[in-house]
């Protein structure tokens, strides 16, 4: 300790000495229209010295010489350079707007480093607050949808509260974790989806699927979108390599808002909205003859039909999905602080009803982010967040109990039967299914209640700083804890409960999950007199995940009570623990030589889930970019004002499931005693992470002074040691084992175009196009081709099959006895078109999302065919389709192409003059906006929505089984700043 203080003393001495010949520069950064511009970066050219403009655009910087060149930059503005001398130390600088110019944006590239976008050697997608808050979302992953090339976001169902699947650059895994790594303020966020246990009632696993299909939300939904300052998406291994063994599916880095010194600023945003179903499928009109296909059909038909066979059609879709859910959102934040301490406080409240009555999502959260400078060199940032959410999810998706879920029960029931309760509140017994879904909806509960607190702490210590060098030490630590309570309560009066031995079921699940991590980083920067810079960073990482889930089911509950101890019998208990510990290190060198930027690095990782828990797996990376437009040979008056070529290479990993390596015996209860049987999954003590190696090549160009920008990337990922859940020959006594047994190649093209068609004082228009394709092929398979678990139910029902030499997302089916490929989930391309127009105080923006191709397995229609309720069954086409079951599969696999109007926003912002007059200069802004999400869809897909997954976040597979239909929503928003 003594030596440390001695060193520190020496450092202080240095800085005192160097203060001798200082020049104090002060000034203001403004826009062309004289609005102050806080947050602009002011750098002393050729040094590591920089500062940021604060409240009112004011800045102050100390220069260790008598004159210097200052560089003023801000994202979306043209960079300016100004000379400063002792005679004129006050500089007011105006920056010109340039909406497509992102060259100055700092992009986080690792634990301790960031780089200007102009030099970035990868295509990294990033989003600011404005983009995030444009149209309200329930879950933060939804905002990423259709905004970037290579980022595909699919909602698994329309259930309020999320359940989203995010794919970055296609698929990188077959049976491994498929979701990106989410890092919020340096803390790894647990994004698991926890099943609620409704499978005990629906028996969805009884018909082939190994995993429950309880339609859970994934926990990234707990992040409050309005707290986010920026999102960066590291799409592939070449960008994400520094995150090592958890980064194969890409990394989403989220930074929350921070306080700023100066006057406290308040923001208030209120929204009211409504949600309704996007599409109804319609109702079959029955006749006395067709009614005969149902149990007691003719008798029941005759009770309601007149002599001509006309009857009052029960519109079940309207009765079940016709609810117009109201949405209410409020958030409030305050930010401010002194020179030393800055704070950001926010509160958030959302109440979002679903299109099925008694379903919905309520989320409340508070956040406090604090930054404190102990000295000029030592700084601490703490971000704390508490969120509580309640999600009522209904009972949807697949089942195997003759119609317990809403959708399955509805397709089983012909619409001449009335399911509504009588005047005494008695629900008719549905003779066609095991449940009356209206009764189930009205009386059951399936609720997830999550309490989550995440805290991160960043401690930055500038150990050493001269004009040309800095040495920074950083500790980032975080804790992400949540408890999720799931309650699935099915009162005894429910029709399907009456069929159970002990009617009245209560299933209570309790999960506690704790993710903690601590990182130590050291960064050295050196900048030479000629402006070349060298940045070396290194660090250590320690991560732990500790989760415990307990599920108890009690049956025979008295009506009106729900506690599990009130039942006649405990029918199911289950406990699952997850304990995982990982250690890593990294080393990275970045070099900036004029217009050339180079980076090389390596990450090493070991994990308790690997067969050999001590083995260190290494993930190297290297990349180079060159701004050709900065060279002398590039004509200054070329219409191409900016041109950068880039190449990047890197590796990442994806860890095996934590249970993959264990060979264990499982307890089986029989006759009140415990028997032991081998686990169905055979442990593999040699299991290793799968590895994804990516090459990315591309260029970024600006035309006509950045009136148009183009970005193009080609990438190719080779995934080796592919983790496969092998259907081991069952005669071994095991069903499955995880193996490293194959290779896959995923490649694609990404093309982005930004244009400013009009830019006038009163009207401007910015448009962005993002087009991409991706393809995955299984290049090597050490085992026989196999049907993907959670990729369908059987070949004749449409099934994803993993086969060497074939697309990884192919769908097979049975056509007249032959098993053949009949589809592919991967679209031909995706294209989004994002527009932003401003006319005086009005802004209008809309986002169109086009997916071309990509097939979906539609089993909703299959089930309604099987039960004789499909609207078109009286047509030849309907008859043919229903009759083809078992002979052909192609009728079940449909083209999932769509064009959707994802987002639309019309905003009126009160002009400064009237605003100040009306509110006596109290308000800094006042805006009114009308926004909509998913309000228009064009698709040939015949069921509810081609964006669907019965199996939640399975990496491959769009399978629809009577889901919660998706909805469109409208909002009216008022926001004001104080």
């Amino acid at each position: 300790m003594r030596r440390l203080s001695a060193t520190f003393g020496l450092l202080c001495l240095f800085s005192i000495l160097s203060m001798a010949q200082n020049l104090e520069v002060a000034g203001k950064v403004l826009t062309e229209t004289d609005e102050p511009l806080p947050g602009a970066t002011i750098t002393v050219k050729g040094t590591t010295l920089s500062t940021v403009s604060g409240d009112g655009g004011f800045y102050r910087i100390t220069i260790p010489s008598s004159e210097a060149t200052l560089i003023y930059s801000f994202v979306g503005f043209k960079t300016a350079e100004k000379n400063v001398t002792a005679s004129n130390p006050n500089l007011v600088v105006k920056l010109a707007e340039s909406p497509l110019d992102y060259k100055e944006e700092m992009v986080i590239t690792g634990f301790a480093s960031s780089v200007k976008r102009q030099n970035l050697a990868n295509s990294v997608a990033s989003m600011s607050t404005e983009d995030i808050e444009r149209v309200p979302v329930q879950s933060v992953d939804e905002v990423l949808g259709a905004k970037f090339a290579g980022v595909q976001v699919r909602s698994n169902s329309g259930t309020p509260g999320g359940g989203m699947s995010v794919k970055l650059r296609g698929i990188s895994t077959i049976n491994g974790n498929s979701q990106p790594l989410y890092v919020v303020d340096g803390v790894i966020m647990n994004n698991s989806a926890i099943q609620s246990g409704t499978d005990l009632v629906t028996d969805a696993t009884g018909g082939g699927g190994r995993d429950p299909q309880d339609n859970p939300s994934n926990r990234i939904a707990d992040i409050i979108p309005s707290d986010i300052a920026s999102i960066e998406v590291l799409k592939g291994p070449s960008a994400a390599a520094i995150y090592g063994a958890k980064a194969s599916n890409g990394v989403v880095i989220i930074t929350t808002k921070k306080g700023t010194s100066g006057k406290t600023q308040y923001d208030l945003n209120m929204g009211f909205g409504q949600r309704s179903i996007i599409k109804k499928l319609g109702q079959r009109v029955f006749t006395r003859e067709t009614a005969a296909g149902f149990t007691n059909g003719v008798e029941l038909f005759d009770q309601v039909a007149d002599a001509n066979g006309n009857y009052q059609i029960q519109d079940f879709e309207d009765q079940m999905y016709g609810h117009e859910g109201s949405i209410y959102e409020l958030n409030f934040s305050a930010r401010g602080g002194s020179d030393k301490t800055a704070f950001f406080i926010s509160g958030y409240s959302l109440d979002d009803e679903g299109i099925i009555e008694r379903t919905g999502y309520v989320k409340n959260g508070v956040r406090l982010n604090l930054d404190h400078r102990f000295t000029n060199r030592i700084r601490l940032s703490v971000a704390t967040n508490f969120v509580k959410s309640v999600s009522d999810r209904g009972l949807v998706n697949n089942e195997n109990n003759n119609g317990t879920t809403f959708g399955v029960a509805l397709v089983q029931t012909p619409n001449f039967f009335n399911l509504q309760p009588d005047e005494n509140g008695n629900y008719p017994v549905n003779p066609f299914a095991s449940s009356n879904p209206i009764q189930t909806r009205d009386l059951m509960t399936n609720r997830e209640t999550v309490s989550r607190t995440s805290t991160s702490m960043k401690f930055d210590w500038e150990l050493f700083a001269t004009e040309s060098q800095t040495l920074d030490f950083n500790i980032t630590g975080g804790l992400d804890f949540f408890s999720q309570e799931s309650e699935a309560i099915f009162p005894a009066s429910l029709q399907f409960e009456q069929l159970r031995p002990n009617p009245g079921t209560s299933i209570v699940g309790e999960t506690e999950s704790e993710n903690s991590n601590v990182y130590f980083n050291l960064k050295h920067s050196y900048i030479s007199g000629s402006g070349n810079s060298f940045t070396t960073s290194a660090g250590l990482q320690f991560e732990e995940q500790d989760a415990n889930r307990v599920l108890i089911a009690s049956e025979g509950l008295f009506p009106g009570v729900t506690n599990i101890n009130q039942g006649a019998i405990i029918t199911n208990t289950n406990q699952i623990r997850v304990l995982q510990r990982d250690e890593g290190f990294f080393l990275q060198e970045e070099v900036q030589l004029g217009p050339i930027y180079m980076v090389a690095g390596i990450r090493g990782d070991s994990s308790s889930v690997n067969g050999d828990s001590d083995k260190v797996y290494t993930y190297p990376k290297a990349a180079i970019s060159s701004r050709l437009s900065e060279y002398d040979f590039w004509s200054d008056n070329s219409f191409i004002n900016e041109f950068k070529v880039r190449a990047a290479w890197g590796k990442t990993g994806n860890l095996p499931q934590s249970s993959a390596k264990y060979d264990s015996l499982i307890a089986n209860v029989i006759g009140g005693a415990v028997g032991l049987l081998p686990l169905k999954n055979k442990g593999n003590p040699d299991i290793e992470p799968e590895t994804s190696t990516e090459v990315e090549l591309g260029f970024d160009a600006g035309f006509f002074d950045d009136k148009a920008t183009v970005s193009f990337s080609y990438f190719k990922k080779d995934i080796t040691d592919l983790i496969l859940l092998w259907d081991i020959p069952p005669s071994t006594g095991f069903d499955t084992t995880f193996i490293n047994g194959g290779e896959m190649e995923t490649d694609g093209l990404e093309f982005s175009l930004g244009v400013i068609p009009v830019k006038k004082a009163e009207f401007d228009w910015t448009a962005r196009f993002n087009w991409y394709t991706v393809d995955s092929v299984i290049t090597k398979l050490d085992i026989a081709a196999f049907n993907l678990d959670n990729g369908g139910f059987a070949p004749f029902l449409g099934q994803h099959r993993i086969e060497e030499g074939r697309s990884a997302t192919q769908i097979i089916g049975v056509e007249n006895g032959q098993t053949v490929q009949i589809g592919d989930e991967t679209p031909d391309f995706q294209l989004s078109w994002d527009n932003n127009m401003r006319w005086k105080e009005w802004t209008f923006s809309f986002l169109l999302d086009w997916k071309e191709g990509g097939d979906v397995i539609n089993l909703t229609t299959l089930l309604s065919d099987l039960n004789g309720t499909t609207p078109d069954l009286d047509t030849q086409a309907g008859q043919d389709r229903a009759g083809a079951l078992g002979t052909t599969t192609s009728q079940l696999v449909e083209d999932g192409s769509y064009i959707k109007l994802r987002e639309v926003r019309l905003q009126y912002s009160l002009a400064k003059g009237p605003l100040n007059r009306m509110f006596n200069d109290r308000l800094s802004y006042l805006r009114f906006a009308l926004t909509g999400r998913n309000i228009w869809t064009d698709t040939d897909y015949s069921s509810y929505d081609p964006e669907v997954s019965n199996f939640s976040n399975a990496p491959i597979g769009s399978v629809e089984v009577a889901p919660y239909p998706t909805s469109k929503s409208w909002y009216f928003q008022i926001s004001a700043g104080l």
């Binding site: 828990s613 264990y662 264990s664 089930l863």
Partner: protein, 441 residues
Amino acid sequence: MKNMFTKARFSILTGLAVTVLMLSSCGSQDISDPNNLPSDSPSVSIQGLALGMESGVRDNLNTYLRVTGSIGREIYYFQGADPRFTGELLEGPIDDGGFLLLRPWESAYRVIRNGNDILARMGDLGLTGEQASGASGFVKTFQAYMHLRNLTYTWDNGIRFEVAGDLPGPFIDRAAALDAIAALLDEGHAELSTAGSSFAWTTTAGLAAFDTPASFATFNRGLKARVDAYRENWQGVIDALNNSFVDATASMDLGAYMIFSLAAGDVVNPIFEDQTGSLLILHGHPSIQADAEAGDQRLARKILVRSTTTVFDSLSSNLGVITAERADSSFPIMRNEELLLLRAEANIHLGNMDLAAQDINVVRHESGGLDPVTLSDMNSAIDQLLHERRYSLYHEGHRWVDMRRYGKLNELPIDRVEGDAGSGRGPDVVIEQMPRPNNET
């Protein structure tokens, strides 16, 4: 300056303290299974493993019964949420990767694996020589039972028999499989005879009549008789039955059972459904009522005629299956009634028609409350026997197997033929046997 220095040191100290705290929470990365008992744990006992055998036998019995019952036209399984029970099973073809085939197949081999694990670790279980013999005989008997269950599924497509190693042995054909199963039963029987007076563990109530090595050996011989009937070794059937628990004076229901309960972690009887409920999934095939003799109490005991006719997928039935009275009712592995009929069957083939008629009439009287019959020629005697087996062993997994071994699958009723009005389904066929699972190739 001094002030800043002190503050800096304070925050450094804080930082270090936090760091040390967090580091100390990072434990070892070598973590053993946090959820289950590792296979090599010293606490693994013969009690647990032997009960595991009995428990595993029940796994996917539900699917096995729905498949054999549907194909054998004993039942319908009207599952509105799945087309396969009334589609694939009645129309074919069978999906060689589907759960109807795979799940029962997998479960049987899991029990066999458990048995092989017991045999392999016998020396580490702390057993005496006699106790080890008893355990071995018990294990082999249940392994044989599971092999036989899979063979009834795939029949001419055979089974894998040598599955003790990491990689399974080859498929063997039906004849070889039956021989191998018979030999395994004989091995087990020999070991049971040198196993002393008691097992080293407590069996479940399902084996109450067979809870000593000697009594368990009579169950082993019952299974041997069934195997011998399947391989048409009729004298073998008689010899095995002579050492079995067959008893014309005992209850028809004397036998070995799988037990069920509603307790947490346990499984419930796969047949039981509340017959007063609004809707049944499991229904009796209409032919079981149509073909019954008047007054056959077996029908009355096993089938409930309901006022509602359920219509599904162009099929209909008003029959409920009531072979299980409660959710925790037991399900027979082998009953005295079957043994009597096996003895009758062997005697028919051996030409002892009177002996055969004696046993058949015991069953008719005791189980059906029916008058005796006389047997004349071989063909009509076999038909009579198959009729008795159909009603005595209704929905216990025998009908399809019986009709198949006598080449009479074409006599099973076909419900939907092509051109049925409004169905769009069919024509129905009778599946002869299940294919080899595609993950066994």
